[in-house]
């Protein structure tokens, strides 16, 4: 980025809520059902229907508001956002405009340079999703209204971000919060979390905002970062060439890696917002707010701090383990069977996450139970197997999730701590490697590493390394 300029970025994020039913009717809120099976006269917009608000949607909105330091409005109202589109049966989207449910919040991020930054949230409001158009089934377009009327929260940030990295970190943090709250699964690829970015640039030091553009169609967290970078570069090029930025909507093209203007016909809406007369104002009194706040789960920042304090983990470990709630949950589940906090952390950050990334699975679907990871750690700590043997047991566990002790016994991998047996092996090894013995006696003590290796090879790694070291040293000294 050209150092003369700074970017001004704000994000509008939509999250799909994991309620059992839709926003204004009793239909199931479920992904993947056959088309037009989760529908009723209400969500199909038939004549005479009326909406009845799902209380759970309000509770989820308040949860998110509390988790992002928002003020919760005691009274908020729904509004009609009017436009015509075939996936919108009523001809309007029920949303909030004036008086949203949450306002004036913030999220703190830590940037790669270690600096903290607070990013403002303007508002969070409740709204319903539209249906889906299907264009690839013959000549006609088809409409699936299963998604129609499912609940969304829109989170509008302040234009506080100054780089694509900040926008990325804000979004990751927001995802972390909604998944911790259990109100959204945060999956951008599947569209359960969607993000549009408002981007403008100005000369550093300039107070006035530049003309902004809106960037859409970014379907992964990294793509948001890339698209914003591309848009900042595009705007700088225009300004540097003496041109002017046009206020417009742009679509990110992940294949070409650049942004392209949307057809102008598709924008410039006058949504004619006005208060929805079919719904009463949403009133969140102190009692309700209190009972919602009591159901607030532990949030990532708190959990990270607790991991550092309680489990004495380094900050790096705590950050990584708490980044995603299921990983943190898995870690704490491992601690149900072992007290070795750091080893448990090492196993998860290493072997477990490696497999998860390789196999592209969720930790919830990891084939080894947390109990068995804990048992494996305990086998090492009890001196029954070495770490090296543990690494051999792990792949077996992946195939058959059973008690690692059983695997160790079945495969005769238990560690050998029998001194007389080790003495015999050591004696043979020294007899076959007299050159090395000589070097040792000449003061080149490093050679002992080689000899340990030979013993371990002979015992297929099962000899207790501490015992091997001790006996080797005794026998070598005996040569003097």
């Amino acid at each position: 980025m050209n150092q003369k300029y700074e970017a001004v970025i704000g994000l509008e994020v939509h999250v799909q809520l994991l309620t059992k039913t839709k926003t204004f009717c009793g239909c199931r809120n479920k992904f993947g059902s056959p088309p037009n099976t989760n529908v009723c006269p209400v969500c199909m917009g038939h004549p005479g229907i009326l909406p009845v608000l799902n209380k759970k949607v309000v509770e989820f909105a308040v949860l998110l508001g509390l988790a992002t330091n928002c003020e919760i409005n005691k009274r908020s109202i729904f509004a009609r956002k009017n436009y015509f589109y075939p996936d919108l049966p009523k001809g309007w989207q029920t949303s909030q405009f004036e008086l949203p449910i949450c306002e004036h919040g913030f999220i703190d991020i830590v940037k790669s340079d270690g600096l903290e930054k607070r990013l403002g949230i303007t508002r969070i409001h409740m709204e319903e999703d539209a249906g889906k158009l299907i264009h690839d089934q013959g000549t006609d377009s088809l409409i699936d209204l299963n998604r129609c009327g499912t609940p969304l929260l829109e989170i509008v940030s302040e234009p506080d971000m100054r780089s694509a990295e900040e926008a990325y970190l804000y979004l990751v943090k927001l995802k972390q919060i909604v998944t911790y709250l259990g109100i959204c699964d945060g999956n951008m690829e599947e569209g359960s979390l969607r993000c549009d970015a408002n981007v403008s640039i100005r000369l550093k030091g300039e107070k006035k905002l530049g003309t902004k553009t809106e960037v859409k169609n970014m379907n992964s967290f990294r793509n948001v970062e890339k698209a914003i970078e591309a848009e900042i570069d595009r705007q700088i090029d225009i300004i540097e060439d003496g041109g002017k930025i046009i206020q417009q909507t742009l679509l990110w093209d992940a294949d070409s890696g650049d942004v392209k203007p949307m057809r102008s016909k598709e924008e410039s809406h006058d949504y004619r917002y006005f208060p929805e007369p079919d719904l009463m104002p949403v009133l969140v009194n102190d009692d309700w707010r209190k009972s919602i706040s009591e159901s607030l789960p532990e949030l990532p920042e708190h959990r990270k701090k607790r991991f550092i304090d309680k489990y004495k983990l380094p900050e790096y470990d705590a950050e990584l383990l708490t980044a995603e709630k299921p990983v943190a949950d898995f870690y704490e589940a491992v601690l149900n069977t072992t007290d070795d906090f750091k080893s448990a952390s090492n196993w998860i950050m290493g072997d477990v996450l490696k497999i998860i990334n390789e196999r592209k699975i969720k930790i919830e679907d990891f084939p080894v139970s947390p109990e068995n990871i804990g048992r494996l750690i305990n086998l090492i700590n009890e001196g029954l197997i070495s770490s090296k043997i543990a690494k051999e047991v792990f792949p077996v566990l992946l195939d058959e999730n059973k008690d690692p002790r059983t695997i160790v016994e079945e495969k005769s991998l238990l560690q050998i701590s029998d001194d007389s047996f080790i003495e015999e092996v050591v004696g043979n090894i020294l007899g076959n490697n007299m050159d090395q013995v000589k070097q040792y006696l000449d003061g080149k003590e490093k050679v002992i590493g080689f000899l340990v290796g030979q013993v371990m090879r002979e015992t297929k790694g099962k000899a207790n390394p501490a015992a091997v070291n001790k006996i080797l040293k005794e026998k070598l000294e005996a040569f003097r």
């Binding site: 006269p41 199909m44 917009g45 038939h46 004549p47 005479g48 229907i49 009326l50 909406p51 009845v52 608000l53 009609r80 009017n82 015509f84 075939p86 049966p89 009523k90 001809g91 309007w92 409409i143 006058d270 004619r272 917002y273 006005f274 007369p277 079919d278 719904l279 009463m280």
Partner: protein, 478 residues
């Protein structure tokens, strides 16, 4: 001719074997056919004759609902499962509802017989029933005249004796004004008293459902049945529903307010004189009559048309040709499909109101029109609340004139809108109102008295109406 005046009389006749319900239903069906030129019905349900046998059995078995055997017509903006719901519009020409409106379901639950769906102004927009894609409805008192609107078919059907009672909807006078033009009782409940679920929305914050009948007794009975909180309508009220039927006859000496603004210029002197006649009778009978003012009355029509058209413009957006509405036959792209469908499907008045409503909600005009009209609405509401501090009920004319001739006002929408000058303010304020048929003008056309009360004080309206009915109107009702 019918042998009874009220439903309770009818039930007794059936119980005593003096009236066959099936013959009664057949009589209504034949009357509808004979009076086909009134065009009161969009659809008549033949199966109701068959159903009447079952209900008659229930009555004889002694296990029956409050409305057992009452033959009721419902306005064709109310949903009834598997029956057409056209709203008298071409755009819904082929539409059948897949569910039943709460108010209609409540009738059925009490063993009423739904004989058909009545004609009305398209999407309930109009004051003469001349804006119907299914043709004009004629006034049974004199078929050269309009029956009023928008529930013209429901009013004409009751006035002509084609059914026992009917349901209409009232957004700005659409029950009271046609009741007045046709000479029957028509009741608009408090906003929120009766569930709107299944009422095809015209203006959501104004729309109400109410009964037409030939007696206060039947009005009370129907109101009793259809009132109450509905979990499918968030705007319905959980206020307790009084026992209208057993309490309406307990006449008390109510304080009656006369708003000067409703008796001034523009009111037909014949109507004024008749109303003053009744007022002096009431005064003689010990009712306290108090002059009151509703100072913001002159803005009611303007506020009403801004707010109702704004709501209508979005409520009618769903009729877009994509799903269940009749789509234009012209092959074209999406935008033109919308345009063609709506141009062909909607009538002129509906289009006029959609355009007006779209305009008042548009960026740059919202504050000047919609927001300002909302303020006026609150002022009008406050006028009424202040007035009801001093009086129990308010008496006004229902309409400034008696029924006008077919075609007389169709070329002048503004003149047409003024027919509602005395009725819209009740919808702006959300208060209940009734039309009491108090007599006829020299030309034989009915004259109506409107009585208004504060929100949820329907009982006061029924009590005063009943007092007038039983003391002054014995020989005057149709």
């Amino acid at each position: 001719m019918l042998q009874y005046k009220t439903h309770s009389q009818k039930l007794n006749l059936i119980k005593n074997g003096k009236l066959s319900l099936t013959e009664n239903v057949e009589y209504f069906r034949d009357s509808i056919n004979k009076n086909a030129d009134l065009n009161a019905f969009n659809f008549v349900f033949e199966e109701v004759v068959e159903e009447s046998r079952k209900i008659e059995e229930k009555i004889h078995d002694g296990k029956y609902g409050k409305l057992a055997g009452m033959v009721i017509a419902v306005k064709d903006v109310l949903a009834l499962k598997d029956k057409p719901l056209t709203c008298s519009s071409n755009i819904l020409k082929k539409f059948k509802s897949i569910y039943t409106a709460t108010a209609v379901q409540k009738l059925l639950d009490e063993d009423a017989l739904i004989i058909g769906k009545t004609n009305c102004d398209e999407f309930a927009m109009g004051s003469s029933n001349e804006n119907s894609a299914r043709g004009v409805v004629k006034n049974p008192v004199n078929t050269e005249f309009v029956p009023g609107g928008s529930s013209g078919g429901s009013a004409a059907a009751v006035a002509a004796g084609l059914c026992d009672a009917s349901l209409g909807t009232d957004t700005g006078g659409s029950i009271r004004q046609p009741a007045s033009f046709c000479g029957i009782y028509g009741f608009k409940p408090t906003y929120g008293r009766v569930s709107r679920f299944g009422l095809t929305a015209f203006a959501s914050s104004f729309d109400t459902i109410g009964p037409f009948a030939r007696s206060v007794d039947d009005i009370s009975l129907l109101l009793q049945v259809i009132s109450g909180k509905d979990k499918y309508d968030s705007t319905s009220s959980d206020k307790e529903v009084p026992d209208f039927l057993s309490e309406y006859q307990n006449a008390t000496k109510l304080k009656i307010g006369l708003p000067q603004e409703f008796f001034s210029d523009g009111l037909d002197p014949e109507i004024r004189d008749i109303l003053y006649d009744y007022i002096s009778k009431l005064k003689t009978d010990g009712f306290e009559i108090i002059d009151i003012h509703l100072p913001h009355h002159e803005y009611s029509i303007a506020a009403y048309y801004i707010l109702t058209t704004a709501e209508a413009s979005t409520n009618l957006a769903r009729y877009d040709g994509v799903r269940y509405t009749t789509r234009s036959g012209k092959k074209d792209d999406l935008i033109n499909m919308y345009t063609n469908t709506r141009s062909e499907g909607f009538g002129d008045e509906v289009k006029r109101r959609i355009m007006l409503g779209t305009y008042v909600l548009s960026a740059g005009y919202y504050d000047a029109y919609y927001a300002k009209a909302q303020k006026v609405r609150r002022l009008i509401q406050k006028d009424f609340f202040d007035a009801f501090e001093k009086v129990d009920v308010i008496i006004t004319p229902t309409s400034p004139f008696t029924a006008f001739k077919l075609g007389e006002k169709t070329s002048d929408p503004l003149q047409m809108y003024l027919s509602d000058i005395y009725t819209t303010s009740a919808n702006l304020a959300g208060i209940p109102g009734i039309n009491v048929p108090v007599g006829s003008a020299g030309n034989g056309l009915p004259i109506g008295m409107q009585i208004l009360a504060n929100q949820f004080e329907e009982l006061k309206l029924l009590r005063l109406s009943s007092y007038i009915e039983s003391n002054y109107l014995k020989n005057e009702v149709v």
